[in-house]
Symmetry: C2
Subunit: 120 residues, 2 copies
């Protein structure tokens, strides 16, 4: 079995884990339309600021989000790389799996050919 | 903020969580090329059968995998729906975010127009 280098695997672990929570996904969705301060991220969420900071910490350790503090305001943004890595991982393996089903479908077509009268 | 119905959110939580582990991803990759028995899934993994069963349980609760026991053999397969849901979630939000960057890029192009001599 082809296994990816451990660093990539650990990055995928952290990124999938980061998205396995509705509040963290809401933060990512908010950031997908542009940078936001921590209080802007927290505003629509029904949770304490320390909880928001914990979720932000998970997102930052996953690499999906980075933040920068200027004065008293911490501004957060999405990072493109990890989201693209996730999407590629899913797309690649779904493609392999769908080719498998296409082959199965071809076998069924050969075994049970369609009535030529059905073709238009 | 538009929040999805809770059932969808819980399904996304479980599916992202299921993929946040290298061994479980290896099982999904194996199943993406066709159905497999539990011992076929376990063979390339350096872990006990009970651990494999625990990972399989997480995958099944996520909906990504289903299994069927006939006699003594439990056969596992991928389920298309949840993987597609994940891919759509990622693709949709990456698209929003990339449009945001495209607009930013347009602003920069207007502010700092390219030297017409560079165009070919």
């Amino acid at each position: 079995m082809r296994l990816m280098p451990t660093a990539d695997a650990a990055q995928l672990d952290r990124a999938f884990h980061a998205l396995a929570d509705e509040s963290r996904r809401a933060m990512v969705v908010r950031l997908s339309s542009g940078a936001a301060s921590v209080s802007e991220l927290a505003a629509p969420l029904d949770m304490s600021l320390p909880s928001v900071m914990q979720h932000l910490d998970v997102l930052q350790r996953s690499g999906l989000v980075r933040s920068e503090k200027i004065g008293r305001v911490r501004t957060c943004r999405l990072e493109p790389g990890p989201m693209r890595t996730l999407e590629q991982w899913i797309a690649e393996h779904r493609a392999i799996w769908e080719r498998h089903f296409d082959r199965l479908s071809d076998v069924l077509d050969d075994t049970f050919p369609a009535d030529p009268g059905d073709r238009r």
